[in-house]
């Protein structure tokens, strides 16, 4: 069984934000929702690196653990999905998420956040809607995964900085790169998300 993960090779990321745009377009997310974002560390200084970050689809996902209504769950492929019908918009998943992944359609004063939205690994939703249906698309976005395709952000990354796929395979690709070029800034978020790092 494949364990789906993301890996951002920060030594290749050029902060072009194509992954962000691809995600917004593919999933038709509303204004203000950023399922994926690019954060630049040490901006303008030597050692500057950009990292594309979204839901990492963690092992033992803390969002699912703290959710008061248990509406978040990992699938058998390790993709963390949620059921928007049950979400009460309490905001706890954002406090627990190590990567700032959960998004809310409204500002959130007086608990008016609305239903949480986050990266679904382009795998549709965790609700009762039929996979690939129009109802699922309207609520959760694209279900490329059901068609055997990987998330569009990683698929169209021009420098192949952002990798998606089975954890062992993308870790191997990243390890080969680091060995060949002689340096690497690490698999960002892997220790926090998956309790293990890429050994190079």
């Amino acid at each position: 069984m494949a364990r789906m993960k993301f890996l951002c090779d920060a030594d290749r990321c050029i902060d072009c934000n194509a992954c962000v745009t691809a995600c917004k377009n593919e999933n038709e997310v509303p204004w203000g929702i950023n399922r994926r974002r690019v954060v630049t560390i040490n901006d303008g200084k030597p050692g500057e690196r950009s990292v594309s970050m979204a839901c990492m689809h963690c092992t033992d996902p803390p969002c699912a653990s703290v959710c008061p209504v248990n509406c978040i769950f990992p699938t058998e492929d390790g993709v963390v999905l949620h059921n928007k019908d049950q979400c009460i918009g309490c905001g706890y998943c954002f406090y627990a998420c190590p990567f700032g992944a959960p998004q809310y359609p409204q500002v959130g004063n007086f608990g008016s956040r609305g239903k949480m939205d986050k990266c679904t690994y382009c795998a549709g939703g965790g609700g009762p809607e039929a996979p690939g249906s129009a109802a699922e698309f309207a609520k959760y976005g694209s279900n490329r995964f059901g068609d055997g395709k990987l998330p569009l952000c990683a698929e169209m990354c021009s420098t192949k900085s952002l990798l998606a796929g089975d954890g062992d395979i993308i870790a191997q690709i990243y390890g080969e790169r680091v060995r060949k070029r002689g340096y690497g800034s690490g698999a960002w978020g892997w220790t926090t998300a998956y309790h293990d790092d890429v050994e190079v």
């Binding site: 974002r37 630049t40 960002w188």
Partner: protein, 337 residues
């Protein structure tokens, strides 16, 4: 002088440590070539090194959502551990433990009777407005307590009974009820503080009350003014806890206004821990005001207490009250107004 210097030194170190945690600016080690020139390609900002230096890796983003600038915060998992393990276990122990202790107390002490029996004469203890302030706070507290406990314990206690969809619907309503009942609670808290502040200031008689065992030992009379020492403790703890839950609650009502992710996590932790202790305190308060003591509930119920109850539990208050009324030429122990 030595002590003050030491104290200042300690304070300064503490503040510096806090600042070091707060200023989460990534530090990076610049690699240089053998000739001494910096090598920007090899000067890798490794996430592993960064996480050893700062608790939260932050950077620059292109979107206006400032909280998105936090790239990685492993503390999210720590907060998860607090919420799912420490809070749930601790909260269950504190609340169930309090209920158990009160049950044991009831089995040992039973209901504290009015030792002289009822006199049949009534004296006014709480005016209508005072009772309104109390019941406004009490009703909103119970609503807030149940809807709040649902967030932490509902999925273990209620979800298996009603099913996930019904439970989600209940929790959605409970969340809004919790958010808006908070205003009634704060209003009640302010009223209670203003109305009862003066009578809850500590006096010398409180020491005597403690020495006499607070009225829990038979044949020993514990003297008290309008409020005894036990009630004063409930008052001051409630005011303190009320301020703490209100302040942290308003931070949670307006997420990320003046707070960052750490601030939101801390606000939730303060809110939850203080609320659990507050519930335990109020459970004891409800016990002694209802089944624990004969003649106590009517003080807040009808506002009038039996004269013998007043003499037994609040001798100085009733003496002063009767003296004052006699001074105005009114009959002793007036019936209901």
């Amino acid at each position: 002088m030595v002590m003050t210097f030491l104290a200042r030194f300690r304070l300064a170190t503490f503040v510096l440590a806090l600042l070091a945690i707060a200023a989460a600016a990534p530090v990076f080690a610049q690699k240089v070539n053998p000739d001494g020139a910096p090598n920007p390609t090899a000067s890798v900002t490794s996430q592993r090194e960064l996480l050893q230096q700062v608790p939260r890796i932050t950077g620059r983003i292109d979107i206006p959502d400032t909280k998105a600038s936090v790239l990685i915060q492993p503390a999210g998992r720590t907060w998860d551990y607090f919420h799912q393990v420490l809070l749930r276990r601790g909260g269950a122990i504190v609340i169930l433990g309090t209920v158990l202790l009160l049950a044991i107390g009831y089995l040992i002490l039973g209901r504290l009777r009015i030792s002289a029996g009822r006199s049949g004469q009534k004296v006014v203890r709480f005016k209508a407005f005072e009772r309104f302030a109390h019941w406004l706070t009490a009703a909103s507290f119970i609503i807030l307590g149940l809807t709040g406990l649902n967030i932490t314990f509902g999925k273990a206690a209620l979800l298996p009974i009603v099913g996930p969809d019904t439970f989600a619907a209940i929790s959605q309503v409970a969340k809004y009820v919790h958010n808006f009942t908070s205003f009634a609670f704060v209003a009640g808290l302010v009223l209670i503080t203003v109305i009862f502040f003066k009578d809850n200031l500590l006096e010398k008689v409180d020491i005597d009350w403690l020495k006499q065992g607070g009225g829990f030992i038979k044949n020993r009379h514990a003297p008290a003014g309008r409020f005894n020492f036990g009630e004063k403790i409930v008052f001051w703890l409630s005011i303190s806890a009320g301020i703490a839950v209100s302040a942290s609650g308003f931070l949670l009502l307006f997420p990320f206004y003046g707070t960052d992710i750490l601030g939101m996590q801390l606000a939730q932790m303060v809110h939850a821990v203080v609320a659990i202790l507050f519930v335990a305190l109020i459970l004891a308060h409800i016990y002694i005001g209802t089944v624990g003591m004969e003649g106590a509930f009517e003080a807040m119920g009808t506002g009038e207490v039996d004269l013998n109850w007043a003499k037994e539990h609040h001798d100085q208050w009733i003496a002063k009250k009767l003296a004052g009324e006699n001074g105005r030429g009114e009959p002793t122990a007036t019936p209901a107004e």
